[in-house]
């Protein structure tokens, strides 16, 4: 099982390159069990959505 630190790194790398199947699986398994990393992933998704919608409607 990956640590939060390792998953954090993969989640953030996933913003800038496409992750391999195994990386995606490792993230999924970890997120199922880890609320802190789920929140971080949600924050990164939110940030992307927000910036891409900037300056708003």
């Amino acid at each position: 099982m990956k640590t939060c630190k390792e998953v954090h790194r993969m989640v953030i790398e996933g913003q800038d390159r496409s992750l391999s199947f195994f990386e995606r699986m490792a993230i999924r398994v970890h997120l199922m069990m880890c609320g802190a990393c789920r929140r971080f992933e949600a924050q990164m998704d939110f940030l992307r959505q927000a910036v891409r919608r900037f300056p708003g409607d």
């Binding site: 924050q43 939110f46 940030l47 959505q49 927000a50 910036v51 300056p55 708003g56």
Partner: protein, 192 residues
Amino acid sequence: MSDAVFHAELDQLRPTLMRFAVLQLRDEQSAEDAVQDTLLAALEGKDKFSGRSQLRTWVISILKNKIVDRIRKRVREVPMEDLGENEDEDFDSLFAADGHWQSKPANWGNPAASLEQSRFYDVLELCMTALPEKLARVFTMREILEMETDEICKELAMSSSNCWVVLYRARMRLRECLQLKWFGDDMKGASE
């Protein structure tokens, strides 16, 4: 839409376009030029504007292209130096030695609640303005202008690991800033 109405509506958008361009280009004069080019292109392309999307959305997409052109040109003139820093230090402050979070990330709630509020975009603008120029430049290319990471690294003549560190730092700073200024104490946009 008559020409007169079209011109008036474009004119109304000018301050928004200017703010957007200044934020991306960090230079009043080239922002002014990019906006000028955009308004001209909008006038010339009026027939292509079908009215299916909002005028504002359409004009901003033109402006994004004009900004990309300028950034590309500028990059060729002034290459960006390597940061030559180590991302491990960045991680170390967030995590304990055993790889766990030092402090659990906050729950930002339902994103839509924030994204629908125009005040949110003011805060986001504030946070983006606060980014150091180097980080802002790379982050803008990636997220606002939606360029691929490889292309950005190549344009900026940066190694991909360096490029990555810069993007990482920009994201983490924005996260911190939004946490502080938007999701802070009273959790304005979100619900726990």
